[in-house]
């Protein structure tokens, strides 16, 4: 019981830290990440439940969510001012890369969706 209490305590502290120290832009991107994750989970659950009938469609949908998640995550990393030392890109450049990569991802996903 005390262990569970400890875990809950830690999580609450994490949440507080997060709310305070993260800038708004990054929080928006985090919300987007959560959305993409949820979509992926729902698609996967459907596949587990009813089988992989149009397997290519399932794959394309799932890869789309995974791809979007990765691209958004990398955008978030690049925009985080704490990482400025590692990455030497302007936020605009990061965003432009994000858009370009998305176009290619969507091309592939549309090709595969069948």
């Amino acid at each position: 019981m005390s262990q569970l209490g400890q875990v809950v305590g830690i999580l609450r502290k994490l949440n507080e830290e997060y709310q305070i120290s993260t800038p708004k832009k990054l929080k928006l991107i985090d919300a987007y990440l959560v959305y993409v994750l949820l979509t992926g989970i729902i698609q996967f659950a459907y596949c587990l439940l009813v089988g992989t009938f149009p397997f290519n469609s399932f794959l394309s949908g799932f890869i789309s969510t995974v791809g979007c998640f990765i691209l958004a995550a990398s955008l978030r990393i690049q925009l985080n001012k704490a990482n400025q030392s590692t990455f030497n890109v302007t936020p605009e450049r990061a965003f432009a890369d994000f858009v370009f990569a998305h176009i290619i991802l969507h091309l592939v996903v549309m090709n595969f969706i069948g």
Binding site: K27, V34, Q43, V50, M110
Partner: protein, 640 residues
């Protein structure tokens, strides 16, 4: 299958096998199948459908010594086609064989003359015309015929054409015949040699027989002996003697003619050596009887026969060397060689014979004649004993001594922990040694269902060949299909060189009890019944969920979008910093156009078109995007 039929099969197959084995190896000539040819002609004589069959049949039967009746004259006149030279030829030849058959000459004169004068007639037609003219008594212009034949020889060099040229030459005067007789050697060179043993011409037995009899005919007319190498003549004779049955009447007729020529003692004659005694030598049949004749089966005159050697087939041991055969008939047609001797062991033998004629050599085929015989012996079963013992310890075995042909009177009862062992030996009565045989079986017959279960008896190596067969009621239970019950046991022995085969009933009442339940017999009849039809199954569709489920889940997938908007609004998402102007507008429009293109790609376009459109749209997208981002960057700089 009852035991008696099985027995009959053994008795019939073994001798037939041995007979076949001995007669196919011989490379000698065999006498002509005159009875077969005569029967063929006599069957054909019952009804005729064309004049060619009439010719061949009447001429053939006359060669064999039967004079056809004159009643056929009407048939000839009815069947002949007066406009066809071949038909006329057949008609005149057929009429020649009858005692009194006159054909109306005037009906045929025009066709015959026109064929002889025409430039387009083939060699066969020329022969038909010349032959018909001679038969009908018309005059023949030899010079023009010779010229025509020479012209044909240049254009048509087929073997049959050359044959007909020879036959035509035989119908003309002697010098012409002599000219053609000299070409016989060239024609012989054109024959095909098969296996180094026979010579034949392309076209089968009819063509070959026609050609060889043409050789004889033209040589006879020329008045000179036929110039042919005796070895090659023997090869032709070899070919003819292998033709026991011929399909057509034409082949039958020419074959008969050629046999007659080859058996005429004016010419070189091939000698035929055949065995007339049975192939198995035993105490009842101690000698080999050999017949010497020509191809028609007639004697060839005073001749002496010597057996050069008699070799055993498996090991080449020579048992006879240069022994003269005694003549049994006054016409020197049958000779005897005693062969049953204690010094000659059992086995298959090949005897090589050489013949020496008394007079000058017009006979060929005197060496290289072989006769195959087998020396058999009587056997005796000895030391037969049947023992019943436990599977595990054979020490306490009950052994019963058996003597052929007695049936064991005791009832044997065996159950699944016992085994049965049969031991025996076979002795050769003549030499006293123990021999091995080709077939040694122990057969159990289920008294109720008559099913047979057969085991092979194996002999030990060495000189005392003891046979042993063991039946264990546990390991061999499957053979019996676990069917307990009463059984008969019999011993079956057989061999090619054993004079008597054995089917010895050992015991009439053996009770076998198996451990497991009996299995039903396999119904062997059902093996040949049509099998159930296999219906082709197309690939089944994959299992799909009901439409409702997929629709619900599609809606469910859009739910997170709602959550996203709620979160964003909570976080304070606003469009206040959105720059306005041409570039941002252009950027948004081209960005939207890319998404629209994706939709169209999914629905209507293919990759190539999409790539092209994408390339087109990406230009404004890049330009406007760059501008917007530059504006934003400048704004950020200004703030910082």
């Amino acid at each position: 299958m009852t035991s008696t039929s099985f027995m009959m099969i053994i008795f019939m197959i073994l001798p037939i096998f041995s007979w076949c084995a001995t007669s196919t190896v011989a490379a000698n000539l065999s006498p002509a199948n005159l009875d077969g040819l005569k029967a063929q002609f006599q069957t054909a004589m019952k009804s005729f459908s064309d004049v060619a069959s009439l010719h061949y049949t009447l001429a053939g039967i006359k060669e064999l010594g039967v004079q056809p009746p004159d009643s056929f004259c009407n048939d000839i006149k009815k069947l002949v086609d007066k406009s066809n030279i071949e038909s006329i030829y057949h008609a005149t030849e057929a009429a020649k064989t009858l005692a009194n058959c006159k054909l109306p000459v005037e009906d045929y004169r025009s066709v015959v003359t026109s064929t002889l004068q025409s430039d387009k007639s083939t060699t066969s037609e020329v022969y038909y015309a010349v032959s018909s003219s001679v038969n009908l008594g018309l005059t023949v212009d030899e010079a023009s015929i010779e010229k025509r034949l020479n012209a044909l020889a240049k254009t048509d060099d087929s073997i049959l054409s050359q044959g007909y040229a020879l036959l035509t030459g035989a119908q003309l005067s002697q010098p012409v015949a002599k000219f053609y007789a000299d070409t016989v050697n060239d024609l012989v060179q054109q024959a095909d040699e098969i296996d180094g043993r026979t010579l034949q011409y392309e076209g089968g037995v009819g063509t070959t027989a026609l050609l060889v009899s043409a050789f004889y005919e033209v040589a006879e007319k020329a008045g000179a002996a036929m110039k042919i190498d005796p070895k090659q003549l023997h090869k032709f004779a070899s070919y003819f003697s292998t033709k026991r049955h011929v399909a057509t009447l034409r082949s039958a007729y020419y074959l008969t003619k050629v046999f007659k020529y080859l058996s005429d003692n004016k010419n070189t004659m091939p000698v035929v050596v055949t065995r007339v005694s049975p192939s198995a030598i035993s105490a009842q049949n101690p000698s080999v009887l050999v017949s010497v004749s020509n191809l028609l089966g007639q004697p060839v005159g005073e001749i002496s026969v010597v057996a050069e050697s008699a070799k055993r087939k498996d090991d080449g041991v020579v048992v006879i060397s240069k022994q003269k055969l005694t003549s049994k008939a006054s016409d020197f047609s049958v000779f005897e060689l005693p062969f049953y001797d204690t010094k000659i062991p059992r086995g298959f033998y090949t005897i090589h014979l050489t013949l020496t004629p008394r007079g000058d050599g017009k006979l060929i085929g005197l060496t290289d004649n072989t006769i195959d015989v087998k020396v058999t012996s009587e056997g005796a079963i000895e030391n037969a004993e049947l023992s019943v013992s436990d599977r595990d310890n054979t020490a306490q075995a009950k052994t019963y001594k058996l003597t052929y042909p007695n049936v064991q009177s005791e009832k044997l009862e065996l159950d699944y922990h016992q085994k049965l062992v049969l031991k025996f030996q076979i002795k050769d009565k003549r030499t006293g040694e123990f021999i091995r045989v080709q077939q040694a079986f122990l057969r159990f017959t289920n008294k109720k269902s008559n099913k047979e279960i057969i085991y092979l008896a194996e002999a030990t190596d060495g000189s005392n060949s003891q046979y042993k067969v063991e039946v264990d009621l546990q390991t061999n239970a499957n053979d019996f299909r676990h069917q307990s019950g009463a059984y008969n046991a019999a011993l079956i022995l057989g061999d090619q060189l054993l004079q008597n085969a054995y089917e010895w009933k050992l015991n009439d009442n053996i009770q076998l009890s198996f451990h497991e339940d009996s299995q039903a017999d396999k119904n062997h009849q059902n093996l040949y019944v049509p099998r159930p039809e296999i219906v082709h199954q197309f690939r089944l569709d994959e299992v799909r969920p009901p439409t409702i489920v997929s629709l619900v889940f599609s809606a469910l997938t859009l739910l997170p979008l709602l959550i996203l908007f709620i979160l964003w609004i909570k976080l304070g998402f606003n469009l206040s910093g959105l720059p306005l102007g041409l570039s941002p507008l252009g950027f948004h429009i081209s960005h939207g156009a890319v998404f629209a293109l994706m939709f169209f790609y999914w629905k209507y376009l293919d990759m190539f078109q999409t790539i092209r459109y994408l390339a087109l749209i990406s230009i404004p997208l890049f330009i406007f995007g760059h501008r917007v981002l530059a504006t934003l960057a400048a704004r950020r700089e200004k703030k910082a």
